[in-house]
């Protein structure tokens, strides 16, 4: 279902395909853990989406590529926050 929904094609019977399936199973475990903290209906819920066949490392290396400023000196001090200007 996942492969069909997200248009994934893995070579049948190949080792990478098996490894990819293990990554997918790990995602399911991760979803159970993330959902275990939900206390009410407004809490975030987690599950299968287009990233479920990626390991955390693969996801991080591909999609989480922004970083905070190396030099934060220019950041306006909190006490001069925008609301105080007006």
């Amino acid at each position: 279902f996942f492969m069909e929904k997200w248009g994934r094609k893995y070579p049948a019977g190949s080792l990478p395909s098996q490894e990819r399936y293990q990554v997918f199973l790990k995602s399911l475990e991760r979803h159970r853990f993330l959902n275990s903290d939900a206390r009410n209906t407004s809490d975030a819920h987690y599950g299968i989406n287009q990233f479920s066949d990626l390991s955390v490392e693969e996801f991080t290396n591909t999609y989480l590529r922004s970083h905070p400023p190396r030099n934060k000196d220019y950041y306006v001090p909190k006490k001069k926050a925008f609301g105080e200007k007006s």
Partner: protein, 214 residues
């Protein structure tokens, strides 16, 4: 302050984009902020070129990563005019910076501001209403598996790794939340958006806040 505010209600936010396998969330975030700020200034709302920022912001590393503040710094220093997305389309890979004559149509910024609003999210609300959507950098590791609802756990401040755009907030329910535009396509999250709890700097959403001055 209103209990609910969303720049989308005023038709001042462009559609959700998909960065594909290109790690340029930082460029999508600031281009989204400039698109809205330009429209708030009275100009038509139009998609501007993310690829131009990816190719040309020499302070960043294109699809290999970058930072919202350095991209704004580059735009401000060079007075570069951002072209329409249709004129300089997204290719999901870093390319050579294309030069266009200064007479070409485009959107430039007159400056930018950066704030640390951790513990001051009320001030961040005021700023959002006053100036437009805000580019922020968050910890988004757990967002890999997000389907919907309000994120309250499983992320932290001090581990920022993903740039997004805050376009509104909603405090009418039991759990107030920021409305955040992502760049992972409309099939991710809530039609491409994510809701993050307000008031506790969840995911470090208030740590690195920037916006362009038009």
């Amino acid at each position: 302050l209103p209990l609910q505010f969303d720049w989308r209600d005023k038709n001042l936010v462009t559609g959700v984009k998909n960065q594909l396998d290109c790690g340029a969330c930082w460029a999508f975030s600031i281009v989204g902020a400039i698109e809205s700020a330009n429209a708030i200034s009275g100009n038509p709302l139009e998609d501007l070129s993310v690829q131009q920022v990816i190719d040309c912001s020499y302070l960043d590393r294109g699809c290999n990563g970058g930072s919202t503040d350095s991209a704004l710094k580059w735009l401000n220093q060079t007075h570069t005019k951002l072209l329409r997305s249709s004129e300089y389309p997204f290719k999901a890979r870093t390319g050579t910076c294309h030069y266009f004559p200064p007479t070409e149509h485009g959107v430039s910024i007159n400056g930018y501001e950066a704030y640390d609003f951790s513990n001051y999210e009320e001030e961040m609300m005021k700023l959002l209403i006053s100036v437009g959507p805000l580019a922020v950098i968050v910890d988004a590791v757990s967002w890999q598996d997000y389907l919907g609802g309000i994120i309250q756990h499983h992320c932290s401040s001090g581990h920022s790794n993903h740039a997004v755009l805050v376009v509104g907030f909603d405090k009418t329910g039991d759990t107030p939340y920021w409305i955040v535009k992502n760049s992972w396509g409309t099939s991710w999250g809530v039609d491409g958006y994510v809701h993050v709890k307000m008031g506790e700097n969840v995911c470090g959403i208030a740590d690195f806040v920037t916006f362009p001055v038009m």
